[in-house]
């Protein structure tokens, strides 16, 4: 950073060049360079001094807390036959010692347990609490950790179900879940392409706006999910800030990528490019959604019943329509459809498997946010695409507004099946 700051006023001839005669320049240049470097370094050195002083002498604020501040968060609770296994993280300012464990059913009962690697967990340290408890599938439980300083931390298991172990059959059924929820609906939606092609021009715009409606709904939904999961992210990892980072970076990154592709190919293939951008953004979204589904499954919080899978299938059908909407008028090789479907759908499989096997709220939040950002970028791009083709006035056209509203309505109605 210091280098660019120092060089800029020198290279681009500014006031200094005009004001100073040539021979004096090199001496003045060296002088100013030193001054600039010094001005950059001085605050850093002062900061180091202050930090050293604070570490050595303390802040001078004698604000000892009246009671110990401790915070233990549950990252993940797994259920195996005869065992409850809680993965916890100490997110408080001080080390914490887990002294007793209780398991609640109707009432809480003190229970045996072991903690690895150590019952005393350093700040931001992790530990696994193993409780040999004969839990019964389908029952609700509460896992209660009591610290040596009498603080109580609880985690609710809404419905006990065995945690999937990374075995072949579990992986296969999780992959199948991903196929049902992500891949099949996307391809079914793509299958509408010939029908969409046969429609007159204004119906094409109707569907394009319907897609925007779908995507806006999807984006808001993803943000909502991300915010919900953010509550589960351990405090110091700042779940809401992660959403901001994922959201903004994905928008900027997609613009950077699509800008580069446009530069190379010209604006001719913009319909197909848009389709790929949509597929990619939906793919990232589906990865986040898959993580959430798999995670909920791992946490024993949803029963992946037929109705739920059906709901997701119906819900995601619309994603396929969204992917192909920009290419309804374009000519391209059919092979692209396969790729579009795979890009949009396959990440769901990766998500469900990863989520169920190693659920982490942190990753779920990040991918949901990245997906939401991608969707926002796509909504902007589709809108620009439409303005380019038929003018800004077309956005307010009653037919197109109806399309947008229909998109929201479709998502809302299919969403009814998904809400647990």
């Amino acid at each position: 950073m210091a280098g660019t700051v120092a060089e800029k006023p020198v290279g681009t001839s500014t006031l200094r060049d005009d004001a100073q005669p040539a021979p004096a320049e090199s001496g003045a240049l060296a002088h100013s360079r030193i001054a600039i470097i010094a001005s950059a370094l001085l605050p850093v050195m002062l900061l180091a001094g202050i930090l050293y002083f604070l570490v050595r002498r303390g802040t001078g604020l004698n604000l000892a807390p009246p009671a110990p501040i401790e915070r233990v968060e549950f990252e993940r609770v797994e259920l195996y036959p005869g065992e409850i296994r809680a993965h916890v993280i100490n997110t408080g300012p001080e080390p914490v010692t887990i002294a007793q464990v209780q398991v609640g059913w109707l009432n809480r009962a003190s229970w045996e347990f072991t903690v690895t690697p150590n019952a005393t967990i350093p700040r931001l340290g992790r530990a696994i609490v193993r409780i040999p408890y004969p839990w019964v599938a389908g029952e609700p439980y509460e896992v209660v950790l009591l610290t040596a300083n009498t603080l109580v931390f609880t985690h609710e298991i809404a419905i006990a179900a065995e945690t999937p172990v990374a075995g072949g059959s579990t992986l296969a059924s999780l992959a199948l879940l991903g196929v049902y929820v992500g891949v099949i609906p996307v391809f079914l939606g793509i299958g509408w392409l010939p029908f969409l092609r046969a429609l007159p021009q204004r119906w094409y715009y109707f569907f394009l706006n319907l897609t925007v409606g779908l995507l806006v709904f999807l984006g808001v939904d993803a943000l909502h999910e991300a915010l919900e999961s953010a509550a589960r992210v351990p405090g110091p990892y700042q779940g809401v800030a992660l959403i901001l980072i994922g959201l903004s970076l994905s928008i900027l990154l997609l613009y950077a990528i699509s800008g580069r592709v446009k530069d190379r190919e010209g604006s001719g293939g913009s319909g197909l490019l848009l389709a790929y951008t949509i597929a990619l953004s939906i793919g990232v979204h589906n990865l986040g959604e898959g993580l959430a589904i798999g995670g909920a499954y791992a946490l024993g919080e949803i029963a992946t019943g037929t109705l739920l899978v059906l709901g997701f299938t119906l819900h995601n059908l619309t994603e396929g329509v969204a992917v192909v909407a920009p290419v309804v008028r374009a000519r391209f090789r059919w092979g692209h459809l396969l790729w579009l479907g795979l890009i949009a759908g396959l990440p769901t499989i990766a998500g469900t498997m990863a989520g169920a096997l190693a659920y982490s709220a942190l990753w779920s939040v990040l991918f949901l946010a990245v997906g939401a950002g991608a969707i926002i970028q796509v909504v902007i791009e589709i809108t620009r695409h439409q303005i380019r083709e038929s003018g800004a006035a077309s956005l307010a056209n009653a037919f197109n507004v109806a399309g947008f509203a229909a998109g929201l309505a479709v998502m809302y109605v299919t969403g009814l099946f998904v809400t647990v």
Partner: protein, 313 residues
């Protein structure tokens, strides 16, 4: 990971701790249990006559004494003579009881005794300031188990934090000499959410599971039981029945049973003997209370003479 069978087996048997793992054995990290030195001694020595008919006690009240309520879990407690529950005070009907309360805390405190006494000795008006002391004096009456506890507002907090104990007033003619145990039932709400986190015999959850009370087969046992928590408690003995003397105010048993619901501040004398050797649980029959610490073991052993006889053979 333990198998379902192992878990079921462990769950199916309440193994006495001395025989190895059962689910009431707390596998504390580092295998730490209660220090035997900490265990509240439930034994009551036989009553002795008071010199000149005067019983004098001094109770030193301190706040924020770290009290290990369950293995590894320490709460700041308020104590009489550093003990939770407070020491068992014992007098004979008609004795003059003098209890000096020395308040070493930062808050005002008092002692309210149950029983018959003048209003100015009731512990409601004689609030003892920090650093001050006060002597409560009254004639022991009637015989029975009389709880004592701090009655300074907010009383719920003063009691919950540990300021309670048992005053036993013996009948003039005495009771039949027996092995005697004192057991206070209470509970602790550590996070103040209105639900107790640990329940305990004599102030420490599971202390008699870690350190069973040894009894001798055929020995007559009298247990003084007091409920000092604001929930019903149900003292229950395994493998046995007891003669019940409600409040200990009569010499005639009211009932022969193995469960008796003690309501808030209610107390009873239980008399029993074990006919067979082995480990027997004594618990509160409210399952939640038992599961959170209100249980322990009697280890009933053969009389020494019999053991010696067997060894000789």
């Amino acid at each position: 990971m333990i198998s379902v069978e192992q878990a079921a087996r462990a769950n199916g048997h309440h193994h006495p701790p001395t025989l190895g793992s059962g689910l009431y054995q707390y596998e504390h990290p580092g295998r730490r249990r209660f220090d035997p030195q900490q265990v509240f001694n439930p034994e009551l020595p036989p009553p002795t006559p008071a010199p000149n008919g005067i019983r004098e006690f001094t109770l030193v009240l301190e706040e924020d004494q770290m009290h290990e309520v369950a293995p590894g879990v320490k709460m700041p407690a308020w104590t009489f003579n550093g003990s939770l529950p407070g020491p068992v005070l014992r007098a004979t009907e008609g004795d003059t009881i003098r209890v000096t309360l020395v308040n070493k805390g930062r808050l005002p405190h008092s002692i309210h005794f149950h029983g018959i006494h003048p209003a100015k000795m009731d512990g409601v008006f004689e609030i003892v300031a920090p650093g001050a002391q006060f002597t409560y004096e009254f004639t022991a009456a009637p015989f029975g188990i009389m709880p004592y506890h701090c009655h300074t507002m907010p009383t719920s907090q003063h009691i919950h934090n540990g300021l309670y104990g048992m005053l036993i007033i013996d009948p003039k003619q005495g009771r039949k000499p027996m092995r005697e145990l004192a057991m206070v039932m209470s509970a602790f709400d550590l996070d103040r959410d209105g639900e107790a986190d640990f329940y305990a015999w004599n102030g420490r959850a599971f202390q008699y599971a870690d350190h069973p009370v040894t009894l001798t087969r055929g020995e007559l046992v009298r247990m003084y039981v007091l409920n000092m928590f604001e929930e019903r408690m149900v003292p229950h003995l395994h493998g046995n029945m007891y003669q019940l003397y409600p409040s200990g105010t009569s010499l005639q048993p009211a009932e022969y049973t193995d469960v008796k619901t003690l309501n808030i501040a209610e107390r009873a004398v239980l008399e029993f003997q074990y006919d067979f050797p082995g480990f027997y649980m004594f618990q509160c029959h409210v399952s939640e209370h038992m599961e959170q610490g209100l249980m322990g073991w009697f280890n009933v052993v053969e009389p020494k003479a019999l053991v010696a006889q067997k060894e000789r053979r």
